[in-house]
Symmetry: C2
């Protein structure tokens, strides 16, 4: 069998980027790593072929040429918003920075498409986690020791229904639902802030759930570009859900990444949350059962 | 013309209750006022026929009998969640309190229906602001000096579309939209908290709007019972929107209350926000223009 084409990984914040690097190296797919100064995990930086600062778009293109891979995985989070004045960029940067910034803020499919277009116009192909490390995607089934009960299953169904309804609007990768009611819909604030909010609402008795009732339901948007914007849950998501008094997490199988899966499911088991994953057929069937 | 039937007003927090009382008195519709201790405005309490504590459901029924009106307007907000242990109720209370509490937390149409059923089973008819003070409802048109521009109008259209989509799910009386993107969807946290969030997101640069871009769009849910759950904006809403850097407010005409209208629109003019109101036909036409 011919060797598959090598992949350059542009690795931003979080441990998931490290997992992708490890998977790609194990499968002899890794051509090189580009890290982002101040964002990438130190374990990523230590093995990176280049560590770029915000806005070095010209340098980024040079680094990709040196790595000599035509396939690129963009992975990881951007937590810090650079101050425009502190960014020392080059000519390409000045052109692209505003769009890149908006992109990194998340959620705007149009801008993501433009960024992909930027790489593609340079002859690069943007690949997805599904290409590099497919076993990081949630498999269908109950993933934790705890399983959702009947009420939970109805809530999960409702959650996926609302996400399906919102999908055309480029919003809402996730909702929190409990006792037949949508308690929170994710907007520009992101999943973590939304989870936190449902905890606050219970503390303030704006949500009067008995015990653990709420469920985080997370799925892809209908036209979401899975190459650059795959929804992710991880150990921190589980911990935040536990802190917010939620009962569990339901994700769309094969289209949501579970980062640090072992640690993630251990946390779920330790904290008494369920984690379950439904494929598109199950979601459609559940929704049809009304 | 025969005199219209008198109305008892159960007035909870906020100045809107006071406006309703004034309107009903002016129109010779007011039979009496029942205030809620610790919630009602002092100007409401001072003219109330009875001031009840949380949980005095038996007393509430007695007061309604004394007032001798068969039509009842439930109006005003509940800000404080009583501690169950501190509520000194009566037999009826013990039966109804949990449901009343959930009701007051807002958003659960089923429970609101049950509360209406509770009054109806006692021979009372729950009326709406539209019956008591129809001129408190937003008239169609531009209400502020400032008017929405073309981009604003497209965003308003998008906002009403999302609200229409979410209507069957008993969620989302309002959204914040800007530059063709839904930034926030109201869940159990309520409109004020959602507005506040969009201000925070701009400060954190999760939303990178230039100048004032975001718009609060507010409408009724499809099956919303307008007798007990009419959406309201008021001067505080305008101030919160200004603080969050929003450009304006768009509401559904005839189905959203503008509390303290003069003060509300003066605040909008002073703070440079637009307030506009579209009737259902305009909303449908706008949505069909895609």
């Amino acid at each position: 069998m011919e060797n598959p084409e090598p992949i350059a990984i542009i690795a931003c914040g979080g441990r998931l980027a490290l997992e992708c690097i490890e998977h790609a190296r194990r499968d002899r797919l890794l051509a090189g790593v580009i890290a982002l100064d101040g964002e990438s995990d130190s374990d990523v930086v230590s093995q990176a072929d280049a560590v770029l600062k915000w806005g070095q778009v010209g340098q980024l293109i040079k680094s990709l040429e040196t790595i000599a891979a035509k396939k690129v995985l963009l992975i990881g989070s951007i937590s810090k918003r650079p101050d425009f004045r502190s960014v020392i960029g080059d000519f390409e940067t000045i052109k692209w920075l505003p769009k890149l910034l908006t992109t990194m803020a998340g959620g705007d499919d149009n801008v993501l498409r433009k960024v992909i277009g930027f790489f593609e116009s340079g002859g690069y192909q943007i690949v997805s986690i599904a290409d590099v490390a497919p076993d990081l995607l949630a498999p269908a089934g109950y993933l934790s020791k705890k399983k959702p009960g009947d009420v939970n299953r109805r809530d999960i169904k409702l959650g996926f229904e609302v996400l399906g309804t919102l999908a055309p609007f480029d919003i809402g990768q996730s909702v929190v639902v409990g006792n037949g009611r949508i308690a929170a819909v994710e907007g520009a604030e992101g999943t973590d802030a939304m989870i936190l909010r449902t905890g606050d609402l219970q503390a303030k008795r704006r949500l009067t759930w008995k015990d653990r009732t709420g469920i985080l339901v997370k799925a892809t948007k209908r036209d979401q570009d899975l190459r650059v914007d795959l929804p992710v849950i991880g150990p921190e998501t589980v911990k935040r859900c536990a802190e917010a008094g939620l009962a569990g997490i339901a994700v769309e199988a094969g289209r949501v990444v579970i980062a640090s899966r072992l640690e993630c499911l251990e946390a779920a088991d330790r904290l008494g949350l369920f984690v379950t994953s439904l494929d598109r057929n199950q979601i459609a069937t559940q929704s049809a059962e009304t």
